[in-house]
Point group: D2
Chain length 325, copies 4
C-alpha cells in the first residue's frame, strides 16, 4: 500500500522522528547517470527557509544504498536513505492523547490501534515528501527531455503570495494556496484505458501529498460552467496540436500532444499558534490546545517541487509502459 | 490496466458497437444475495430519457455469467455481460479520418496504432460506465449499511439545471455540471498510508469516468483561500466527530468518522450539433465537421449514479483491507 | 486473485456447469491477427477423445466478445467466452455433502462458506483450462517466432503411455504422468530479478493447472545428487550457448539463450470408478463413495497443450517487460 | 519486480558488495512485538560456519530503520538494513569479462546492458537471502502459532549429508541437496482460486531462492507413477483430516487442514575450485577459469531457514487475505 506504479515502482518508508526515511525505486532502467549531488537542486527547492516555512532544517542529503554503481543506475532496486538528525520529539509527546485538529493524529491512532509512531506525525509527516522529491529527481532523468514545472500561483486567494503569507504569520495563523504544474514535450498516446488514465495516475499521486484537497486538469472546475462549443479544443494539425487547451493535454485519458496542465488546491497548514480546541482522549472532554513545534505558515510554498516529482513519477511509468508495446 | 482494486478488483471489457460490454468482479466475498433484477434500479437511473440525454435506449439488462449460484455470490469471479443491440455503426464510419474535437478519436488512433474499434468511441465510449454502475450495485451491497448518494448540484454554472440544459439544447450545444457525492456511516481509519489514501483511490476511479475534469474533497479549492484557524475541524468526541467538515471526512488520507463529501467537475458533452472544425487525417487539412448520432446535451445528468458506483467500489476495497488487519 | 501477469494480464471466470467460462486478456498489444478459427488447433488438442479421456465433448468454440476488430486485436481488453452446453448437473448433486477424495469439494465448501457452485467442481473444474489454452493461443502469436512444445513423456512411470492408461482403465482406476515442455528462440536476459524469475513465473502458472504436484527446470531434482563440476554448463560463445543445459535455459532467474526445458508431475485423476471412502458432511461418518459422471483415466494426456499455453503466457509478459526497458 | 505479496508485501534491495542490503515489509499489521534481537536465531541458522559453508562471516545484524516503535510494529512499512562490511571486491574484479559457468554473470551483463554491479554477483548474490530470512522472522510472528520447519534431507543423493559434503570438498567440488519443509496448524481454506493457489505462491517464492531447480508438493513427482486409488487421500473427519497425505496439505490449491509438506531441489554450488572453461567476453574465446573467493561446498546446508522464511511469508499473506473475507 506504500508503493505505486506498474513498471517504475516507488515505495516509501520511514517516520518523521525515527531512524530515517527512504524510498525504493524498482523497475528503474539501467544506465541512467546518477550521483548523490544530482539530488541537491530539487531537495534545495523543497527546503524550508523562505518566509512562511518551518525553521527546521536538516542536511537532508540522501545516501544511495543500492541500485547505483560507477555513477549509473544498475537496473536493480535503487534505495535512497535520509537519516533523521535534528529531532525534538519532546515537542510532540503529549499529542498522543490530544489529537490536533486537521492532522492525522486521531485517525492514525485508530487505524494503527495505538501502535503508530506518533512523534511529529510519524509516517504521515510531510517530511516523507522529501522521498517523493528524491524519486522525482530520478524520474525526471528517465523522462528527459520532457519538461515539468510547477509554481505556486496564489495563496489565501491572492496572487500577492508574500503578502498573504505575511498576514497569516502575523496572526499565528496559516494560509492555503494553489499550485499549477505544466509538462511539455510528452508524446501523443501515453496513458492506459479505463482505470489508468493519465488524470487517474496523477491525481492518485497528487492526493498522496499531504494537505491536498483538490485536483483539476485543463479548464477544470470552470468546465462545469462552459458550453461544449467553447470547451472543445479544435485539432489543427497531425501532431494533435489544438487551438485551445481546455483539455489540459489529455483526451480520453491519454496524452494528446499538447502541454499537460493541471492545478492542485493546498489547504492551510493545520499546525497554527492560535489556540484551538480538540477532544482529549485522556480527559474525555473538549480541551483548549496550543500546538508547539516548528511549522510552516504556508505549506503550499514547498509543494511545487513535490508536485513536479509526482508528475515525473507518473510520466516515467507511462513512458516505460508505452515502450513495452 | 483495465482493472483496479487490491482485494475487491473490478475489470472492464468491451466496445460500444461490438458484441457487448462487461465487467468482472474478482475478490467479491461469497454469500451476498444477488439476482439480475437487483441491477434494475441503478441501471435505470443511468438510463437516458430525461430531457438533455441521448435518445439511444438499450435494454441494458446484464447477464450474470459466473460467480453467482442459487441467488448468492459464490466468491468466484463475478462476470456481468451486457449485449450490444441497438447499434447504428453508420453514424460513426467516417470519424476514423475526422477526429472529433474533445473526443478520444485522435489519441486512440495513435495509441492503438490504427487498430482500435473506433465505432462510437469503441472502448472509450461512455457506454462503458454501464459496467461501472453494475459493479457499484454489488459494491453497495458489500459495504451495507454505508449510504452513498450523489446528485447533480449545478449545470452550466446554474443551480437551475433544467433551464441551463434546455438553453444549451436549443442551440444544439451542450453544457457541463458539478456532481456532489456524500457517503455516511463509514468507520474511522479506512484507507492506506502513502499512495493509497481514500482521496487517491476515489480520485483514481473518478477520473476513469469520461468527461471528468476535476475532483475536490471537503472544502476543496476553496481551502486554498482559507486560513488554518477557520479550516481546521475541531474534534468534539471520541467517535472523531468534528464541529465542521472542511476535511470532507478524510484526515491524513484516512476516513475520520465524519461524512465523506466530495465533488467532481463534468465537462460539457463533446458531441454537439453545432458545426466545428477539426484536422482531417484524410485530407491533411482543417475541415468543417458536423457530429451526427445520438448524444447527451448534458452528460452530467447521468453521472451521479456512476459516481456513487465508483465510490462504493473504492469503499468496498477499503472495507476488505480493513478486515484483513 | 483470478488474474496474473504484469503487462500481459490474464483473468479467468466461470464455473463448469454455470452459464459459461471465459478469459480476459488485458494489455495485449494492438495489431495481432486474430479470428475465432485461430483457436481451433490448440482447443482441438485439449479435447477429450483419445483413449483415457472423458467422453464429455463440448463444441468449445469461443466467442470473441471484445478487443478484436476487423481481424486484429485492438489493444483493448480481449474477452473470450465459452458457453456451457452439455451439462448434466444431476451427476454431482449429492457431492455437496460427500466430498470426493483428492478433489477441491471439501476445501471449496469451507473457503466459500458453502456458497460455492459445487456442480462439477464449479470454478475449480479442469474445464477452466480451456480458457488457459485460449489465452495461450494469443500469447503464442505475441511471442512468435518463439516455439513452445510440450509432450507427455511418461504415464504411471512407464514410457509406454497407452499401455499404462489402458491398464488403469481396465480397473476403473486412473494414472499420473510427466509432461515436458521446451521453448526455443528466447532472447538472453528475459526475466526479472528477485521474486519474478522465469522459474517463479512459470511455476506460479503451472501450479494453476489442476492436478500438478511438481515442477522442475533443467536437471531438476537430479541436480540434488550432482556435483558442481558436472552440473555447471560451460558457456561456449557470445550468444550464451552452453555445452550442456543442466540449467534448463535459465541462469540467475533470467533466460540464458539456451532452450528452456522443464517438466511437471501430474497426479492421477482423482475421480475413479473404484469404490472409495470419505467423510460425509450429512451423516458425520465415513461412508463408501462411488464417483459417477464422465472422467479422464489419465488427465495428463490433456495437459501438454495447457502447459504450452501457460508457458507462452509467461513468456509474453516477459517479452513486453523486456521491450519496456 | 523486486516485491511480492498482495497484502503482506516484501521488497528487497541491495547488492553483495555495495553499501548494504535490505528489505521492506509493507502491509504488516501493527502491534507485533519486535526487537532487533528477535532476528538472531534465524539469522544465526543461515550463517556460514558448518563444514561445507563459506568462511565469509558478517555480523549481519539488521538495523530497524522504520515501522517499529516502542518494541512493536507500527503498521507502517518496516525496513530492515544490513550494512556490508567484510567486502573483498578484488576477488571478483575480472569476472566481468569472464562469466562464471552456472552463475548469473553472463545474463546479468546482458539484461542490465553492462551497468549491473557485478561484484560478488551484485543483486543476484545469495547474500540477499539474508533479507528473506529477516522477513521470515516477522512473517513467523504474524502466523503464530503455525509451525514451519525445514531441514536438509539429503545431499549428493545421500542421506549421510556430512559424508557427501566432505567428499565434495576434498575434490574442490560442490554438491546439491534436497530440503523438505513442513508447516502445521494451518486452517482449512487458505489460498486463492486460479493463479494464486498455495502451491503457486510458495513455488513462486521458492524459485526466488538462488540455486533451486525443482519444487514438489506431497507425493510430488512420485505421483506421476501412482494410481488414483492409492493417491487419493480419504477424508476421515470434519476437520478435513485425511488418512494419507499425498496431497501435501493442499487440495484444489487451498490448504486442506493437513500438514503442508513440500520439497525443493538445490543444485550444487556453482563456484568450485576445480578448473572450468568458459567464454571470455574479452578474448572472444573459450578460456580456462579458476573461481577464487569464498564459497560454500554445499549451499543446500544454508537453505532450510530460507525455505522456512519464504513459506512463512506466503502463509502470512494468505492469512491476511483470509481475514479480509
Amino acid at each position: 500500500m506504500n508503493s505505486t506504479g506498474r513498471i517504475f515502482r516507488v515505495g516509501l518508508f520511514g517516520e518523521s522522528h525515527g531512524q530515517g526515511i527512504g524510498v525504493t525505486l524498482d523497475g528503474c532502467p539501467p544506465g541512467i547517470p546518477l550521483t548523490e549531488s544530482d539530488f541537491n537542486p530539487d531537495l534545495g527547492r523543497r527546503k524550508p527557509g523562505r518566509v512562511g516555512t518551518t525553521p527546521r532544517v536538516e542536511d537532508d542529503l540522501p545516501e544511495i544504498i543500492s541500485g547505483q554503481f560507477n555513477g549509473f543506475t544498475t537496473g536493480a532496486p535503487l534505495t535512497l536513505l535520509f537519516r533523521n538528525k535534528n529531532v525534538r520529539s519532546g515537542d510532540y509527546a503529549d499529542l498522543r492523547e490530544t489529537p490536533r485538529p486537521g492532522h492525522s493524529d486521531f485517525v492514525a491512532y485508530k487505524r494503527f490501534k495505538g501502535f503508530n509512531d506518533f512523534r511529529g506525525g510519524g509516517h504521515f509527516s510531510g517530511r516523507l515528501t522529501l522521498c517523493l522529491v528524491a524519486a522525482g529527481v530520478v524520474a525526471k532523468k528517465l523522462i528527459d527531455p520532457i519538461s515539468v514545472n510547477a509554481e505556486l500561483v496564489s495563496a489565501g486567494g491572492e496572487k500577492e503570495i508574500d503578502k498573504a503569507v505575511a498576514s497569516a504569520m502575523e496572526n499565528g495563523d496559516s494560509v492555503g494556496g494553489i499550485v499549477e504544474c505544466r509538462a511539455g514535450g510528452i508524446p501523443v498516446g501515453w496513458g492506459e484505458p479505463f482505470f489508468d488514465s493519465v488524470e487517474s495516475a496523477i491525481a492518485h499521486l497528487a492526493f498522496s501529498i499531504p494537505a491536498i484537497k483538490g485536483v483539476e486538469f485543463g479548464s477544470g472546475f470552470a468546465a462545469a460552467s462552459m458550453k461544449g462549443s467553447s470547451h472543445n479544443d479544435p485539432i489543427i494539425d497531425d501532431t494533435g496540436a489544438t487551438a485551445t487547451n481546455n483539455a489540459g493535454g489529455i483526451s480520453g485519458g491519454l496524452t494528446n500532444g499538447n502541454e499537460l496542465v493541471f492545478r492542485i488546491a493546498v489547504k492551510p497548514t493545520s499546525s497554527i499558534s492560535i489556540q484551538q480546541s480538540t477532544y482529549s482522549i485522556k480527559t474525555g472532554k473538549v480541551e483548549k490546545l496550543e500546538v508547539r513545534g516548528r511549522h510552516d505558515a504556508c505549506i503550499a510554498l514547498r509543494v511545487p517541487v513535490v508536485l513536479e516529482a509526482i508528475t515525473a513519477i507518473a510520466l516515467a511509468d507511462f513512458k516505460l509502459l508505452a515502450q513495452s508495446r
